[in-house]
Amino acid sequence: MVWEQLVVNGIIAGSEYALLAIGLTLIFGILRLIHFAHGEVAMVGAYTAFVVSAIFGLPLIVGFFVAIAVGAALGLVINRFAFKPLRKQHILMPLIAAIAVSIILQNVIALFFGNEIKTYSLGPVEKGIEMFGFIITKTQILIIFVALALMLLTWVLIKKTKIGKQIRAVADNRHLAESVGINSEKVITVTFAYGSALAAAGGVLIAMETNLEPMMGLMPNIKAFAAVIVGGVGSVPGAILGSYFIGLAENIGIWYLPSGYKDAIAFFILVVFLLFRPRGILGKKKEGMQQ
């Protein structure tokens, strides 16, 4: 009973992290950029769906797709105005810019929607469905399946399409990719749009589970980043694996440890990996990582 539930709790948390981690790892892969505002893109996505469903009264599923579109557009805008002008600068410059974008987005949303908590009003709180010794709600099942579907979609995109091949080429070695005629700026643009769309989708799902507020993207994004490192930077399967690893470790860990250590568990794993296996679970050997 307890163990099944712990594993399910870990999988739910891991699915939420994975939705952010996929975009993060793609963006990190091609730009070596820690996209600190990625969680805020998810947050804006969640608020977009809120506007569509709660203010315009349309079904949440419509809001979900509008959020994906807005997320993609926001990703493009952030890339164009915050990161592209800094492309040739020291690697720390875009990082600082990302933190700035994150703060700006939080405060712009707080300005328009206030800091109080919003909900999608999905009906009354009910006991979840009992099965195989654990309890799970419909929303949580939906989160897990949408996360799996988006992972599959990403896998197809990366492995089976031309743009996916280009993304991998640019991630491997940007200059070499350019020398064979790949337009790396175009690849970066597509990656930002796609990664941000995933983040926005994730934001809506997370908000269905935990409500909306301007700071909602911050912590999941940090966890997702830890998942990216643990799984192997730039590797999509690695990011997914890392997400579930951290989700499970946190939830199983605090069964034995005092619950205040929950965040510490994620970061402890991160440090252990940075020290002993910096390329992560599925990361490539060093030479492949150099630009």
Binding site: F81, K88, E116, I117, V125, T210, N211, M215, G260
Partner: protein
């Protein structure tokens, strides 16, 4: 002009320059936005004003309090200035954001005291930063008035530190007694891992065990957590008859939602932060019957006037702790007028002798700079907060 800007020997491109301009423009717009909501004081003549430092949680996890508390204290300032100021001087605020974070609180007070030279500071603030900033104020001999933070340790923070909100030392005992009186003996305790949660949960556990009850499990969570499932599972496994939980409104909503989803159904007790309409909106009938302690509304004529004035000014009811924030400036004003001086040294002696009847009832400091104000035990009935029994 942008050609003049260089970075690492290279000229900054036109697009980068435009990007920076855009960011500055957005920042300016954001700031003027704040100005319109009146969180920043307007400039006035140097000689005719008294500057008061104000610490508010404008951003971060408790930004919701920054809004309700900020507008209320600003209303107090407007009203005081309309009726001639304090000792003939207009009140001007110098606001610092603490983000409801203990580390940021130290930064905020240092900026107020050491950079901006404030002699009077109101901390309308979470317990974490209110507590961490107090020693800085004490050392610099700056009068430090705590408006809403309730952590018991603020009592011992120093001579220049006063507080107009009652301490959780009292609240923790009140709620423990209530739980015991209601016949519950096996309580689970879940609290937020910060100065506020830790303070009240500590007092509660001590008092509840002293009464003969048993705190069967204690679980901490972080201020910005949104997944409480495993903590709740641990609570469920020990089978308590009641759950005492202390956090911020966001955590309450999620704990209530997730505990019911996990099939844990016990009587919930909570504390002053529970009095927030958004919780009822979010969890609906699952909030029914939850019992919590909170600062009692004083019901004095001053309180009714404040309520009315806030409604007229902002078109809605005052938010959480607005009454305490409003009162804090008036208590300071009363102290200054009694001392006939703005000097913290003189003012602090005056405050120890002060008896001020205001929006939150009688403010009369003891030798620790603390007040006694009654708590009310409230519950949720038919979707609104009502007095319990």
């Amino acid at each position: 002009m942008y050609q003049l800007l260089t970075w690492r020997g290279k000229k900054v491109g036109k697009t980068a320059f435009l990007g920076i301009i855009a960011i500055i423009a957005i920042a300016v717009v954001a700031f003027t936005g704040f100005n319109q909501t009146g969180l920043f004081g307007l400039g006035a003549e140097e000689e005719e004003t008294v500057k008061i430092g104000v610490m508010l949680p404008l951003t971060g996890d408790a930004a919701i309090y920054g809004e309700s508390v900020g507008t209320a204290i600003q209303l107090a300032r407007e009203r005081i200035n309309e009726s001639g100021g304090i000792l003939g001087k207009r009140v001007e605020f110098v606001v610092e954001d603490s983000a409801c974070d203990a580390k940021a609180g130290v930064k905020a007070i240092n900026s107020l005291v050491h950079l901006k030279g404030m002699k009077l500071v109101i901390a309308a603030e979470c317990s974490g930063p209110a507590l961490s900033a107090a020693p800085v104020a004490e050392e610099a001999k700056v009068l430090y008035l705590v408006a809403i933070a309730s952590n018991p340790d603020i009592k011992y923070a120093g001579d220049y530190v006063f507080r107009i909100a009652p301490s959780d030392n009292q609240q923790g005992k009140d709620i423990a007694k209530t739980i015991y009186k209601e016949g519950f003996r096996k309580a689970a305790s879940m609290f937020m891992d910060n100065a506020y949660g830790e303070g009240i949960a500590g007092v509660f556990a001590k008092e509840f065990e002293a009464l003969g009850g048993n705190v069967v499990i204690t679980q901490r969570f972080n201020q910005n957590d949104n997944d409480f499932r495993t903590q709740l599972l641990k609570v469920k496994e020990v089978n308590p008859d009641s759950l005492f939980i202390v956090g911020y409104p966001q955590s309450y909503q999620l704990v209530i939602k997730q505990m019911h989803e996990l099939g844990l159904d016990v009587q919930i007790f909570s504390a002053d932060t529970f009095k927030d309409e958004t919780i009822i909106q979010a969890v609906g009938d699952k909030a029914e019957g939850i019992i919590f302690s909170t600062y009692a509304e004083s019901g004095t004529p001053e309180f009714e006037r404040f309520k009315q004035a806030y409604r007229e000014r902002h078109g809605k009811e005052y938010g959480p702790y607005g009454d305490y924030a409003f009162d804090s400036l008036y208590v300071l004003k009363a102290g200054i007028e009694q001392a006939n001086s703005f000097d913290p040294e003189v003012l602090k002696e005056s405050l120890y002798d002060l008896e001020y009847q205001g929006v939150t009832g009688l403010t009369k400091f003891d030798e620790y700079g603390e007040v006694y104000k009654p708590y009310a035990i409230m519950t949720v009935r038919n979707g609104s907060f009502v007095q319990y029994k």
